[in-house]
């Protein structure tokens, strides 16, 4: 699933000099603004909508957008805007949580491989190869079958599927850093191995991770939504963009907003995260 794959491992290079120079871009500002709005939605959704996302009104199904329901209602009369706003929480949770777990696990494994001896490294890398060879979606499916459905379990599923990507990246990075002259320079100064690893290897191996993880967040959100879309994610009635979308498709001729709203929400979120992530990368790489 493209969505679960972490293209964060793509060896993308720096942007062209001419565009790098401009410090501030309107797209980034818009992205940040949207993410800010999402954060508000995730923390205090009540600020953005007065409707209850779970409140059912069978009489008020498929109300078209209007003053009372800005984006209309769904088949059970629930306010679409409210569901979108409340759905932000699980999407953000998915993005941040899955990435956090994947990064933590992935870098632990990657570091183990990168710093250990040849045999441990070989074993770990073969395991990673195995994990990479199994399609992400299947990996996610198995995790969900093991743990059951639900936002948190889908989160684990997405996380586990991306662990090998991060692990591989961190290992490669550790190798690069370990071979760097400045690490040797620190050794030559007479520092302990542990100090060299702590002060130079770890921070530098992790440096690109921060930025890549940002982009990974966007991917995780998309992946989480994909799982929900396939009926493997958040349980009803909790609002979640992916399951809003798969429900919406069934009623697309009754109320197109049921598809447009969550679709747009997912796309804009991933887009914003990506834009901001790239800007971050540009900035950090501009310095180093």
């Amino acid at each position: 699933m493209t969505a679960i794959t972490v293209p964060a491992v793509l060896p993308e290079r720096r942007e062209h000099a001419a565009t790098r120079r401009r410090a501030f871009r309107p797209g980034v500002a818009l992205g940040l603004a949207f993410l800010g709005l999402l954060a508000v939605a995730a923390v205090t959704p009540g600020l953005l909508t007065s409707h209850d996302p779970l409140e059912i009104s069978t009489a008020g199904a498929f109300v078209p957008p209007g003053a009372d329901h800005l984006l209309g209602t769904d088949q059970s009369g629930r306010d679409t805007l409210a569901r979108m706003v409340y759905g932000a929480r699980s999407s953000l949770l998915m993005g941040l949580g899955a990435t956090a777990i994947a990064v933590a696990l992935g870098s632990a494994i990657g570091l183990l491989a990168g710093l250990a001896n040849r045999y441990v490294e070989g074993a770990v890398m073969r395991l990673i190869d195995v994990a990479l060879s199994i399609p992400d979606l299947l990996l996610a499916l198995v995790v969900i079958t093991l743990l059951g459905t639900g936002t948190v379990n889908a989160l684990f599923a997405v996380a586990f599927a991306s662990v090998p990507y991060y692990a591989r990246m961190i290992r490669a990075q550790t190798h690069v850093v370990r071979a760097a002259t400045y690490v040797e320079a620190a050794t030559a100064l007479g520092l302990r191995r542990s100090a060299v690893i702590r002060r130079h290897v770890l921070p530098n191996a992790f440096k690109p991770l921060v930025v890549l993880a940002t982009i990974g967040v966007g991917n995780a959100i998309g992946a989480g939504a994909s799982l929900s879309f396939l009926g493997l994610g958040t349980k009803p009635p909790a609002p979640e963009w992916g399951n809003m979308l798969s429900l919406g498709i069934q009623y697309i001729s009754n109320d197109p907003f049921m598809v447009i709203v969550p679709g747009l929400a997912i796309t804009l979120t991933v887009l914003s995260v990506t834009v901001v992530g790239r800007d971050l990368r540009r900035r950090t790489e501009g310095r180093s």
Binding site: A18, T181, A186, L189, G190, L191, N204
Partner: protein, 567 residues
């Protein structure tokens, strides 16, 4: 395609040894050339004017960044992305080329003007056999058949002195040595018999021996009636090739005239400084730069001069290549460095100099032989002892930038090094400032990151870091090869001052014989991982015993050698 280059078979009117005809209509005429980059960029070429007559060779000299390459590229309309070019007059062969469209330029490039780019080693497409690269201008500008082009390529390769041209034409750049690559490039530039040959730093990336061969080749090519523009910051190259010299500084020509006159009797202060900074002509102990000696506050320590600080015995090191075949890169190397002295290691690129240094510092485990530090063998030391010994032996890396953690400021870099002496955190800053002063930098540099420093400044910070643990020996691995002559002079002076004041010993690695001559007390000559000769510097430089040393020395060029004796 009119006047073909000489010595190229197939170009009919080869005539050798004719002096340049400066009175004839110039081939190239540049007046008040100005080039800037970007919308508000400064003029990096700032009012340059010169002419090149047919058969004449003009050299552009000047320090790095003075605008030599930009000027050269402008002559073929390839100034660069976002460049703004203005000139009162920009003529090639009597025609105004300043308003040329891409199409016009394409007719000139390769056919009328051959261009040998500065970055010779990466100027050939790595994914194509060199033969195809050389044939490219022929395909673009002639109607030769493929077979004919193939033959012509062989001829060209032979003409530039490439042995076994049939084989070489099939090979990829990475399978060729630097010298062969440079030759292939020249062959491609002269393939269509251009009227002007531009060679940008044709020898910088090359070994002294190969350098000499290329210069000979260029010298031979010059003997036609094509014009030549040679760009270099190396005055010895210029002395050997050019009829006239233009000295560039910050985009302006500060001095222009016949080679002999400019090199022997420079009028401009800058030219004088450039000439003075060449180390080869100075014995150890003379100052190279005009800058005052650094203030070094420290009492000289007393050394036991009888025990060497480090002694290497029969060092052997082999690496497995990508093909899993072991290659011995250091063979049976033995030497000792005593306190307060400088041991120079010289040898061509890849001869094992750096590897030897790393073995000495215990950063690499030797496959044979051993290293003793102050009488104790590395391999007998506990890790803690090793760490303690490491402080006495420091290193200044070949590439200082990569030896700094990119996240660290100068203050942290130095702080870490000071830390190993056990100095308390509160006092580190003062010590750091003191170290910076020793290398003629100020406290204002403390907050900078390595990337925010110039090459010379970085080298100094690297030296300051090496000084921090108060070492007895510093390994200097090509500490100046990446630097300008002027900056190089400052660094060499600094090292000399430090040795004088602090009695530090150096293991000084360079492939630049001039530099080695200037700094060393004793010299080790390496070839293919083995020491072929060692001894006192004067003895080696005046009476080399080994054949290889003699080749090396004979390839050394000095401006003086061509331009006459200097004071």
């Amino acid at each position: 395609m009119s006047a073909p280059a000489p010595a190229v078979p197939g170009s009919a009117t080869a005539s050798g040894g004719r002096a340049a005809d400066t009175t004839a209509a110039p081939l190239v005429s540049v007046d008040d050339l100005r080039v800037s980059f970007g919308r508000h960029g400064v003029d990096v070429v700032d009012g340059v004017s010169f002419t090149i007559a047919p058969g004449e060779c003009l050299a552009l000299v000047g320090e790095s960044g003075s605008g030599k390459s930009v000027t050269a590229r402008t002559l073929v309309g390839l100034t660069g992305y976002g460049a703004r070019v203005r000139a009162a007059n920009l003529e090639f062969d009597g025609q105004d080329v300043s308003r040329n469209t891409e199409r016009h330029w394409r007719g000139i490039r390769g056919a009328q003007v051959g261009f040998v780019l500065q970055d010779a080693l990466s100027s050939l497409d790595a994914l194509r056999p060199v033969g195809r690269e050389i044939a490219e201008p022929l395909a673009l500008h002639t109607t030769l058949t493929k077979a004919a082009r193939g033959e012509k390529v062989i001829e060209l390769l032979r003409a530039v002195g490439v042995p076994e041209p049939e084989l070489r034409a099939q090979q990829y750049p990475h399978q060729l040595s630097g010298g062969l690559r440079q030759r292939a490039l020249i062959a491609s530039a002269i393939a269509c018999g251009p009227r002007l040959l531009i060679a940008d730093e044709p020898t910088t990336a090359l070994d002294a021996t190969v350098q000499a061969q290329i210069l000979a080749l260029l010298g031979e090519l010059k003997r036609g009636d094509a014009g030549m523009l040679v760009v270099s910051h190396d005055l010895s190259v210029v002395a050997r090739l050019a009829d006239r010299v233009a000295v560039l500084r910050a985009g302006r020509i500060v001095e222009q005239g016949p080679t002999r006159q400019v090199l022997e009797d420079p009028r401009d202060e800058y030219t004088k400084a450039l000439l003075a900074a060449v180390p080869a002509t100075h014995a150890k102990g003379t100052r190279l730069s005009s800058a005052p000696a650094a203030v070094i506050r420290a009492t000289p320590r007393e050394f036991d001069r009888t025990t060497p600080i480090v002694a290497a015995e029969g060092l052997v090191k082999a690496y497995a290549g990508p093909d899993k075949v072991n290659r011995t890169v250091v063979r049976e190397v033995s030497f000792a460095v005593h306190p307060g002295e400088t041991l120079g290691i010289v040898g061509e690129s890849g001869s094992g100099k750096t590897t030897t240094a790393r073995l000495v510092l215990g950063l690499e485990r030797a496959d044979g032989g051993h290293v003793s530090v102050r009488g104790r063998r590395w391999d007998s030391l506990t890790p803690a002892d090793k760490r303690a010994e490491r402080r006495r032996l420091q290193i200044v890396y070949q590439d200082p930038l990569s030896s700094f953690d990119p996240r660290y400021t100068v203050e942290r870099v130095l702080g870490e090094a000071i830390g190993v002496t056990g100095l308390r955190a509160g006092q580190r800053r003062d010590r750091a400032v003191e170290l910076l002063e020793q290398v003629s930098l100020g406290a204002e540099h403390l907050k900078r990151r390595p990337l925010e420093l110039s090459g010379g400044q970085r080298q100094r910070v690297a030296i300051a870091r090496a000084l921090a643990p108060e070492p007895e020996l510093i390994v200097c691995d090509e500490p100046v090869s990446a630097l300008d002559v002027s900056v190089q002079a400052q660094i060499l002076d600094l090292l000399a001052d430090l040795q004088e004041r602090l009695g530090i010993a150096y293991l000084f690695i360079s492939h630049d014989l001039g530099v080695i001559h200037h700094v060393s007390d004793r010299v080790l000559v390496m070839k293919d991982g083995a020491v072929v000769e060692s001894g006192d510097v004067r003895q080696i430089f005046t009476a080399p015993a080994h054949e290889y040393t003699r080749t090396l020395l004979s390839a050394v060029l000095t401006p003086a050698a061509q331009g006459g004796p200097r004071a």
